[in-house]
Symmetry: C4
Subunit: 267 residues, 4 copies
């Protein structure tokens, strides 16, 4: 869930600059972030990823970050609901981070607690888009990991599935994972307040520098990419793999196997 | 199901006032209750919540209550199909309750047996919207509770799942449940006639004053909220949790766990 | 599947009368059978009931019967694809039945082998609409019945589920089944040629005069009703119950239970 | 996945002929291949067959082959994204095959590694359309086959299910499979590079001359047909059977049974 943050947060720009900066979310281009976030969120709602106002999506365009507000029905979101902030103007000190200033704020909403998590992907990975889902496949994967003694509860691992090729090798690396590679997604424990996940998400990013996603136990997943296309298609591929993994578990099939490569014979 | 009530009910206003009060269901505002009930019901039909004319939705706006008729295909409903009644003019005596008078009645339909159940949420909780689904996840949860000796068959309980934060703490209380809180939804037994559920629903509301939902064994769930937004998003979150609970059961995972909170280290 | 019938069938009216009777399938009324069959079939395709040209739907309006052709993609059907025949003009002798004459035939299609099965519902039950689905829930129910020694493999039975109230008590009877009533749907064995199912379907109708549906082993279900509304909503309710039954089986829950009625205390 | 092919491939026609041949993908006819591929792919995306840019679809019209590019979001594809090549002008030598020349190339994309697999269906079977899905039902079937000692891991077999009648008897043969016939779909092992699947796909086509589909272990399925209608409806029927097979496995039901035919008694 992305409820509003604790009361210490002040959205200082709400009153005067709101009117001035509505141009930041006004565009006739369907690929403008303020139009794309609502259309993506509606798509995600139909996929069951952002049920009951849970989950969300943020897009970065150069220094500008576009964010959905807290508690909005994701299939009904409008461009005028979007927050905009300047990434370079954000305080780096954790204590000051809560005093977030927005370039543009929607009149009737509150900012989302997911904000610092989205910003971590933008700051630490130079991502262009970050998606957060509550997909129950993601939640079930973390529950299976937690309750299966033979598995590392802090790491989802799967190999030898074609869809793994949908993932890049890692930030700054060229190309995608191969069919026989092992996809590894770290799992962090959920915290009572979503914003408190930030430090653990950042730790997981440091520990797994090549990952494009972090699972949150009993909560969902954060997925990012260099741009909207990559974040969205990796999020789809990951949800496909989570579903497959749950179904494999129900059929008693292991996620990791040792398969001899099949080599071409005629070249 | 919300079939028409027993034959003792008389819809006295059907003949003369129908024409006069069509203005109560005529509006160009998509958020007018007479427009919103059909669009919500169509959405619920696609979610599998109101299959085969089962289930429904009612909205209260001040003293006016808008209700879907009995036996209508939920994805085809029109504003002109909607009943309207005055909440304050309803008889309080259970015996008289069946002599319900409507301010506006659609010509070719009968009122729904769900009516007194929706009114209970409006009267006892001051709710602005009440949703009734036949979601098979809800039904399966009540069946699992009934057949699992280690569980209290009269109470669905789940904790340590992020989506729980989608629920308010209770009527008149500020804020939402936390991640570690236990969501408790009482279960009442189904009755042969839906209107006879009313007293048991009201009893459950008295026994669980903080609940926003009541499960009905082998039947479905009633969910309400202060307004349409809250009722709809809580209903979505609840269905998500029912689905997750059934899948957890299939994987042998418990609904209630004792998890040590993960605390932030850097503030 | 509804492939074209055996080669002995002659659609004698195809050539001359086709042009003359196109008015039978031309209407601006969305509820005209020639418009309704395509829109219903598109809806059924999205529900997974008529995958891969399987299944279908027929509507009777007085003496005229409207039928989808064989082998058409159900989500792409058009009014001009519809066959029309006169019910009273059909031969009653089984041998002659194959020499079916159509009032209106689409130029490029063949009639469906489902035709005599739809006609059985119209003739023997005076139905106004008959729906045939290949829903895999229906197929799974017949497979479970076939392989569970404690169950009667020729009869699907379920009770004490609210959705059962979506079914009428039977042709010519007033009112619907109650919550505690047992819904009984006979199962017939599949035949190599779909048209050969007709006599077994008719036998099942004779043996279960109150049923509105017949399951076909490893194939699907036929559901009918007095009109489109009743056939469609009963078909939805039945598919809901089939899905629930499969899920109950997976959870080890029985379909038939002995539940003490919960009686109201205050009236 | 259909990532771009290895770097040895040269799309020589990209620069000069692109502008000239845009007419090959420009048509107001919704059934023109350049319009049909995007609309089919959008439909497949909603069915979960082409998640995360995986899978695809190619159509042949006489000598012209229309292909989706690599890495495109399948629900967002446009006619201008389509590649066109001449089938008769393709090199037959495997080594030269990689130097593929296109009549028309979209400016910003790369050709798909699936190309030689689609061409195999066109060349060896004279198919008019070939569909490649990553349906997780297909993947699960190959996983079940791999891990069940009593089954032939290289062959999916199912009989006595009505939907089997949705398949033709084989290329050049008249009519469809019957209810009691056994549908057999060969399974090939996945290779690290999708283009390397080609020789194994062709081998499977030689070994099973009547098949219209080949499963790829832990990857998905290729399905083809004489035209778009047949490829699409066979792909739907196959996915239905894969889903049913997985559900049958979960319920402990066998895919192959020995059922006595039910014969008509009255003709």
């Amino acid at each position: 869930m992305c409820p509003p943050p604790s009361t210490t947060e002040v959205t200082t720009s709400t009153s005067p600059s709101t009117e001035n900066n509505d141009h930041l979310v006004t565009s006739s281009d369907p690929n403008h972030p303020a139009n794309l976030i609502p259309s993506l969120c509606a798509k995600f709602w139909h996929l069951g990823w952002v049920t009951g106002t849970g989950g969300g999506c943020s897009i970065r365009s150069d220094d500008l970050v576009y964010l959905a507000p807290s508690g909005v029905q994701k299939e009904l979101m409008k461009p005028s609901d979007i927050y905009v902030l300047s990434l370079s103007s954000q305080p780096t000190d954790p204590e000051e981070r809560k005093q977030r200033v927005y370039l543009r704020s929607p009149p009737q909403y509150k900012p989302s607690q997911c904000t610092p998590l989205f910003l971590a992907a933008f700051t630490k990975r130079n991502a262009g888009c970050c998606i957060h889902t509550h997909s129950h496949w993601a939640v079930l994967v973390t529950l299976i990991l937690e309750s299966t003694p033979s598995l590392n509860s802090k790491l989802f691992e799967i190999n030898n599935i074609e869809q793994i090729k949908g993932f890049g090798k890692g930030h700054g690396k060229v190309g995608n994972l191969g069919y026989h590679d092992t996809l590894r997604i770290p799992v962090i424990e959920n915290t009572a307040h979503e914003e408190d996940l930030t430090e653990f998400l950042e730790e997981a990013m440091d520990q797994y520098p090549d990952t494009y996603a972090v699972l949150v136990r009993r909560h969902g997943v954060y997925v990012w990419g260099d741009n909207v296309h990559k974040a969205k298609t990796m999020c789809e591929s990951l949800d496909y793999l989570f579903q497959l993994a749950v179904e494999m578990k129900q059929l008693g099939l292991p996620w990791i196997t040792d398969i001899e490569p099949t080599l071409p014979t005629r070249k």
